[in-house]
Structures are given as structure tokens and as C-alpha cells.
Subunit: 259 residues, 2 copies
């Protein structure tokens, strides 16, 4: 492992995975080499921990039993649930690949994140993306969180299944998406169109979410074909980016054919 | 304040509020007496902090400037953003009131939570409920999180606006909801009906969400008129309870008339 945990790597990250579901999916997906799995001594038996052990043995991944305090000291998420793993970083997908339609598969359905900095939100968004059938996620290289242990845990294993690409600049990537025939749908509290009034069909689409608080950046907004808002019935009427995101992703998903 | 923070109160809680939006809404809503507002010395000026100061002065709430470390020591949420307040507990709504239609207002639209224990999830759900136009939230008295500072912060002030009631037993409360004419819609990964296939109109409704991981309890499920699932396109296809909840609440909301 040339890149230690917490290092300034600007790749996708993911070298340390914490939590039961996240570690199980790391092993079950088998997309990247796993160096070792740590289990806290004295954990109550559970089907998912047994599954983690079985998967690790089958893949000849070393299992280390460590004291609970040792595991907690190694962990960086809040509640690692008695299990963590070290692995090769998540492979980066190629952005052009993510934007290209492939015969015989569903058209591209991409989630682009404009500077999401909260790890819980990024994790929840990747989990929602996986459930909605997103075919790829675009993350900016800078001013954004990548896959920390907290992100992987909040994503409950979805980071192992959803291809993710890192882009130097999101406006340029959205321009490329437009040229590739994707419909670029931004989401912003001040958007002129209701999300629920969009005429969505089965065209390729990229959903763009802004940073917590500040929303879509100006250059990103200019690359959107439409900017939609979540219609609100409340006095505050604001959602966090993970809540707005899951609504937008499933609004697209329900109009797409099952794969 | 007879009930200190962190005490074993089984009321709604809410006596300590942290974070800029949460404290601003506490003061703006004016639903409950505020004892004091603490501001960290040396915070960068911001419109929302200025608003907090103005609202506190207008309501004659004492403002205390404290060292950042002192505020952090008092805070129990992760990032209090340099501001916290002490207030009377949130008022508990009466469950029968929440279930009763009122002439001239939208029909009851209630969110019932069957043992949500993660404060981030509860906060996000109350925030989503406010945005979706929910008229009341039902929380069980036991085996559930109430309004801790982390909940209030994640709700971004929505706890000040959405009436919340505590019930001794959720199955009995759902039976009462049924007798009051509400349609009881449970959400569960194993539900037989897709959320998006429900025929929703403007009838009074209660949406029931289960605990993280375990889903709806058996007795709660038996009180549901329908149990719906979020249709998934992924391999894992699971959402966290906050994600599933916002989808269900807005699915109801989009079929209701604007108030």
C-alpha cells in the first residue's frame, strides 16, 4: 500500500473500509485486492460477520483478530461495527467510457457532484445511486470529499459496485456529456422548473448536484440543459443534498426501463 | 431548566440546539422560550450569524460570547458552527390532534417512525417531512432517538416547525390512525407493492418507516393497510431510512394539493 490512510491522495481513495456491510461488499464484489481484514475480539456472532469471514477465507485474505480498542484506534469512521479492511484503492473509471452509450445496455445515467464535502452525504448519495441504477458517478478532483472510511461505510458497500470517475473540472466534463448526447439536469433550490414536471424518458442523462449550502456553481449551472428544484410545501422547504439527490435519481429511474 | 442536557428525559428533548440554521429557526419560530444563545469568539461574520444576533436581541435572549473551546466543550454535535442555544424542551403535540382532519386545512399527512435510532437519520427525516408538508410526526417513547443536538442540527431548524407527538406504542397509535380515517402506508424493503404504483390521492395518510436495518416490526406491519417497497435497479438496491423516507414522503406530497 503506497498510499497510507489519511494521506493526501487525490485518487478515489477507499484504501480503508470500515463497517459490516461495506467490508462484506468489498469482499463479495472482488473488484480489487484486499490486503487484510480486521475483526474485533469479542464481537457477538452475526450472520454478516460470518459471511465476512467466509468470503475472506475463500479469497485467501488474512483475517486478523484484534482487541476492540486497537480496531477503534485504527478506524476513522464513528462506529466501525467491529470490522475493517485494507485494500487497494478503488479503480477510477474513465469519464469518456461513462458517457458513451453501449449497445445492449441501458443508456448512460450519470450522477455528477459539484463539490460535496460531507462524507455522510457522499456515502448516502453513492448508495442511492446504486439503488437507482446509476451507471457512473463523476467527482471533481479538488474541493470535494473522496472515498474515506466514513463515505464507504455510509455507502454500505455501494462504492464497490458503482463506477466512479474523477474529473479535473466539472464544467468541462458536463460539456463533454452534452456532446455525447446526455441531457444535463441540474438540481438547485432556485431552479425554474419543478423536478416533478420534467418530461423524462429513456434518454441518457446526467444529474448534477451542488455543494451543501451553496448549490450549483455558476460555470456548472451554465452547462445544464435544465435546472430543476424540488417543489416544497413547508416553510423552510429545504432538503440536504443527499435527500434532494435521492429524489432526483429516482425521478429519472422510474422512467427508465429495467435493465 | 429542570431537565439538563444529556439527561434521561423521555420527552421530545430539544433543550440544547446547535448549528447556525437550527438556532436561527429556534429564534425565528418563537415557539418556545430560549434561555440563552452562545456565540464563539472569533467567528467570521456571516449573514446567518448576524440574523441570529438580531433575532436574539429582538426577543431579549441573552447573548454570550464564549471562547471557541468552551463552546465546543458544551456542544454535543460534531460541528456546532460556532453557535448554540439553550431553550425549553420542544412542546409535545397531542396525537389525537395530529390525526384529526381540520376544516380548511390540508388533510392529515403524518410520518410515524418505528424505532429510528440514528440521530442523523431522524434529523434528515424531520427536515424532509417539513419540506414535504407533513402535518405531524409520531415517535415512540422508547427504543428511539429523540431530539438531541445532533438531530436538531441535521434537521436544520425543521424541528421548530413540524408538530411531533410521542406515543407509548406505535401499533396502538396506528390503529387509532386507521379509526380516524388515515390510510396507513408502511415502507419496507420486502413490501409487495412498489411505492411508485400506489394510487395516492388526497386522502389522509400516515407513512410508517422502520428502524435502520431491521425494518418494520411485526405488530407495526400488521397495522399497515399497505406495505410498499422502493423499487431498485441496483445489485444491492438498499437505501438508508432517510433516503427511503424522503422518497415516500414526496411520493405522497406530489399528489396533494398545495396548501
Amino acid at each position: 500500500m503506497s498510499r497510507g490512510r489519511g494521506g493526501p491522495s487525490r485518487g478515489l481513495g477507499g484504501e480503508q473500509v470500515e463497517g459490516r456491510r461495506a467490508v462484506r461488499e468489498l469482499l463479495a464484489a472482488g473488484r480489487r485486492p484486499v490486503r487484510d481484514v480486521w475483526l474485533a475480539e469479542g464481537s457477538d456472532p452475526s450472520p454478516i460477520l460470518a459471511e465476512v469471514e467466509d468470503l475472506a477465507r475463500a479469497a485467501r485474505v488474512p483475517l486478523r483478530r484484534v482487541a476492540r480498542g486497537r480496531l477503534a484506534a485504527e478506524a476513522s469512521s464513528e462506529a466501525p461495527q467491529g470490522v475493517l479492511a485494507h485494500a487497494e484503492p478503488l479503480p477510477e473509471a474513465d469519464v469518456d467510457e461513462l458517457l458513451r452509450p453501449r449497445p445492449g445496455t441501458a443508456p448512460p445515467f450519470v450522477l455528477a457532484l459539484d463539490g460535496v464535502t460531507d462524507p455522510q452525504n457522499l456515502g448516502a448519495l453513492v448508495r442511492s445511486a446504486e439503488a437507482a441504477g446509476v451507471t457512473g458517478v463523476l467527482l471533481p478532483r479538488h474541493r470535494a470529499v473522496h472515498v474515506t472510511p466514513t463515505v464507504a461505510k455510509a455507502a454500505a458497500g455501494a462504492v464497490e459496485h458503482v463506477p466512479m470517475a474523477i474529473v479535473a473540472g466539472l464544467p468541462a466534463a458536463l460539456a463533454a456529456a452534452g456532446r455525447a448526447g446526455l441531457w444535463v439536469v441540474g438540481l438547485d433550490a432556485g431552479g425554474p422548473t419543478s423536478l416533478f414536471d420534467l418530461t423524462l424518458a429513456t434518454e441518457p442523462v446526467v444529474v448534477v448536484l451542488g455543494a451543501e449550502g451553496s448549490g450549483l456553481g455558476r460555470l456548472v449551472r451554465e452547462r445544464c440543459d435544465v435546472v430543476a428544484r424540488i417543489p416544497s410545501a413547508g416553510r423552510l422547504g429545504s432538503l440536504n443534498v443527499a435527500g434532494a439527490g435521492v429524489l432526483a435519481l429516482f425521478e429519472v429511474a422510474r422512467h427508465r426501463p429495467a435493465d
